[in-house]
């Protein structure tokens, strides 16, 4: 039997799980930890470090270390290190390669197949990007599932009939809210909402900024131009944030942070939990705005929700737990480790696909509406957000002038009525249309969102019954040749 592993590819940390017996278990890496930092270090000669090793290089070579790569997925930005251009997918793949190696060592067998989790509000482009990263890493990506849904599956809830659960998934880089209805092993998502610009790493940088400002006030030195000092402060900020969950006041000392004519300058700084809570309050408020939106979308009343499941590393912050208790009247579940649930859920889904877990099934929804641009730059929606996937919708297209041979379809994802305010998924061209009078050709275009949340477009000429050729342009994805090239490069460049 082929082993399938589940990967939680996080903004700051990744974890891997696989089925042992009938349950998913976390796989520890060669450092003995179940969390692998999502950090890549690339050396001058192209060889690289990942995980903890890369993170420890950050202080020495801040310019060659890439972190938070998940936030770049699906964006058209390349990374340039030591004169070599890397695509975002390729950087992410380097981390996946390490996870793959760790899993193979742990399980003692090859793991060619994988289930990867993504934030629920990831667009088609972002999902495709992570899929391509998987391919570059040598995986056959069997399924992409949403993080909050995965967590709900792993939480092993003792559910009655039609239990309604709200998952509050606050991770390193994203916040996702999903509302699920669970009964008899069927996990059905009713609505989901999320943002990729609020996460634990933002709290780190808020603390870091405060440290930098206070250090400037105290010593008169601005360390913003000093990458090494900046990195030290960033690492310290993360440590402070985590420590604040356990103690009400944390002091922070970094010796030799900087130096000037007076000699070396040390950082001695402290922060109380109250100060920290005030700092992050507006961000937390925004997460509850999202929760309200999601509840409204689901058509379920707040009082009808049976339980709230906090997920992700950031929910360990005490003030978030308190806010959840204030906002919801129902019980707030206390999973043993909220940061592990997503990976375990990915493993669970892997088990379902493998066949080692039976009687469970997942029905998820598409987080964003899918539409096409029409005259005047407006968007008309074909598939509404929160529609269960897989789903397909067809629409008839025709020509607007005599003997027109090409019809352009601009496909977008988002809710804004103006097309340019949404995420462009690409332009599709119906080509080789037989020349006819305007309005005569009838071409049916089928838009399909598959179970992974990824869009497929196909077209059929209804007059000839033939498949219509489609050319895709302006997508951010990589071609097959590019993926092959990156696979080769990943293989050749030695891991140190």
């Amino acid at each position: 039997m082929k082993r399938i592993i589940g990967i939680d590819f996080g903004t700051s940390n990744c974890s891997v799980s696989a089925i042992e017996g009938k349950r998913p278990v976390l796989i520890s890496n060669d450092k003995g930890s179940v969390y692998t930092p999502s950090v890549v270090y690339i050396a001058e000669n192209g060889s690289y470090y990942t995980g903890e090793d890369a993170k420890s290089q950050a202080i020495l070579y801040p310019g060659r270390v890439i972190s938070n790569i998940k936030r770049q997925l699906g964006k058209l930005s390349d990374v340039r290190i030591a004169g070599i251009q890397y695509s975002v997918q390729e950087i992410a793949a380097r981390i996946l390669i390490q996870l793959k190696n760790d899993a193979e060592k742990f399980l003692g067998s090859k793991v060619p197949e994988v289930v990867i989790t993504v934030p629920a509000n990831f667009s088609d482009t972002e999902r495709k990007a992570i899929m391509q990263s998987g391919e570059i890493a040598g995986f056959n990506v069997r399924r992409i599932i949403n993080e909050p849904t995965a967590a709900a599956m792993a939480a092993d809830l003792e559910t009655g009939v039609d239990e309604k659960i709200l998952v509050y998934d606050f991770g390193g880089g994203t916040i996702d809210i999903s509302i699920l209805e669970i009964s008899d092993g069927l996990f059905e998502v009713r609505a989901t909402a999320g943002r990729s610009d609020i996460g634990g790493v933002d709290f780190d940088s808020m603390i870091a900024e405060k440290i930098i400002a206070d250090f400037k006030n105290a010593s008169g030195i601005d360390i913003k131009g000093d990458p090494v000092a900046l990195q030290k402060v960033r690492d310290e900020a993360e440590r402070v944030k985590i420590a604040l969950s356990d103690s009400t006041e944390v002091s922070s000392k970094i010796p030799f942070l900087s130096a000037d004519a007076r000699g070396p300058q040390h950082l001695s700084w402290n922060i109380t939990r109250g100060e920290f809570e005030r700092m992050i309050q507006s961000k937390i408020d925004e997460t509850f705005v999202l929760a309200k939106k999601c509840i409204a979308d689901s058509g379920i009343k707040t009082d009808d929700i049976d339980a709230v499941l906090p997920v992700g590393g950031t929910v360990k912050i005490p003030v978030i737990q308190k806010r959840l208790k204030d906002f919801f009247t129902c019980k707030i579940l206390q999973p043993p480790d909220p940061a592990e649930l997503v990976a375990l859920g990915a493993g669970m889904q892997a088990g379902i696909i493998e066949g080692s877990i039976r009687g469970k099934a997942l029905v998820d929804v598409t987080p964003l509406s899918l539409g096409i641009e029409i005259d005047g730059g407006y968007l008309i929606r074909l598939i509404e957000r929160n529609t269960p996937v897989p789903v397909s919708k067809s629409r008839m297209f025709t020509t607007i002038s005599d003997n027109q041979r090409i019809v352009e379809i601009h496909v977008l994802q988002g809710e804004h009525p103006h097309a340019d305010q949404n995420i462009s998924l690409g332009r599709f061209y119906l080509e080789d249309i037989p020349p006819e009078k305007k309005g005569m050709p009838r071409i049916e275009v089928i838009f399909e969102i598959d179970i992974d949340g990824i869009l497929h477009v196909s077209a059929l000429n209804l007059d000839t019954g033939k498949r219509q050729t489609i050319r895709i342009a302006e997508t951010l994805g990589l071609s097959e040749a590019e993926i092959k090239r990156m696979m080769r490069r990943a293989m050749q460049s030695k891991k140190i």
């Binding site: 379902i352 099934a361 529609t387 897989p390």
Partner: protein, 252 residues
């Protein structure tokens, strides 16, 4: 349009809880992860879509209407077989005008004819319907005739319409309107102009209880054929009807 009730293995009268249960059963049956084959993916998609419609009372009732229209021998066929569009549009014009004065009617509770009377043949029923002095016998006979659902039985009821008293005529029309076989619609249309105002009311109500989809179809046909002066009026009515529909759904 596929029959979602059949897909979920429920009947059209089943309550939401039963449909929900059936939906879950169907998901577990067709889910690609469970069936372990890609072959069920289309069915799975359809199950998901079916439940999106059937879980929502508004969408479900609209779907029920649309579904009833495409059953064999239903109105859409009747319209297709009508050759003289001029005649059709004139009738529709009148119907549409009279309809606006009346509220939309609920689906009627059909009269179930007495079991004994149901056993009788067409000729017996016809006799009872036309010549009995007992009101309830006539009504039961009419209901039994309706159950036969043949064009001659329907024709028999309709041909007697102009002579019926108002109460009986209304019951009969209600029943005929509920049949929705092509012949009944055809006969309603053809007798429309010869009937009194009361009868016209009942008939026009029935047309609109057929649902918005049907209205659009028929009016659309009139517009497409472009027969003046009816096309212009039909366009107006269509616009008005759309407006009314919006207003109604908005209020709910």
């Amino acid at each position: 349009m596929p029959d979602y009730y059949e897909l979920l293995e429920v009947t059209r009268d089943d309550p939401p809880e039963k449909i929900k249960k059936a939906y879950k059963r169907a998901v577990l049956k067709y889910h690609p992860d469970i069936s372990r084959t890609r072959l069920t993916e289309e069915s799975f998609k359809m199950v998901l879509h079916a439940y999106q419609i059937l879980r929502d009372p508004q969408r479900r009732s609209k779907y029920d209407h649309d579904l009833s229209l495409q059953r064999p021998g239903t109105f859409s066929r009747a319209v297709c077989t009508v050759q003289d569009t001029n005649w059709l549009s004139s009738i529709y014009y009148q119907i549409c005008l009279s309809w606006r004065k009346f509220p939309r009617c609920e689906n009627p509770a059909f009269l179930n004819p007495d079991k004994t009377i149901q056993k009788l043949g067409f000729e017996e029923l016809k006799k009872k319907f036309l010549f009995s002095s007992n009101y309830f016998v006539r009504l039961n006979a009419a209901a039994a005739l309706r159950y036969l659902e043949t064009s001659e039985s329907v024709h028999c009821i309709i041909s007697a319409l102009p002579g019926l008293d108002y109460r009986l005529a209304r019951e009969v029309l209600n029943m005929i309107g509920g049949i929705r076989v092509s012949s009944s619609i055809y006969f309603l249309l053809s007798s429309f102009s010869s009937l009194g105002t009361d009868h016209k009311q009942v008939i026009s109500r029935y047309f609109f209880s057929l649902g918005e989809g049907m209205m659009r179809y028929v009016l659309g046909r009139v517009i497409r054929e472009g027969r003046e002066p009816y096309a212009a009026s039909a366009k107006n009515i269509y616009a008005m009807q759309k407006f009314n529909h919006k207003k109604n759904t908005g209020r709910r």
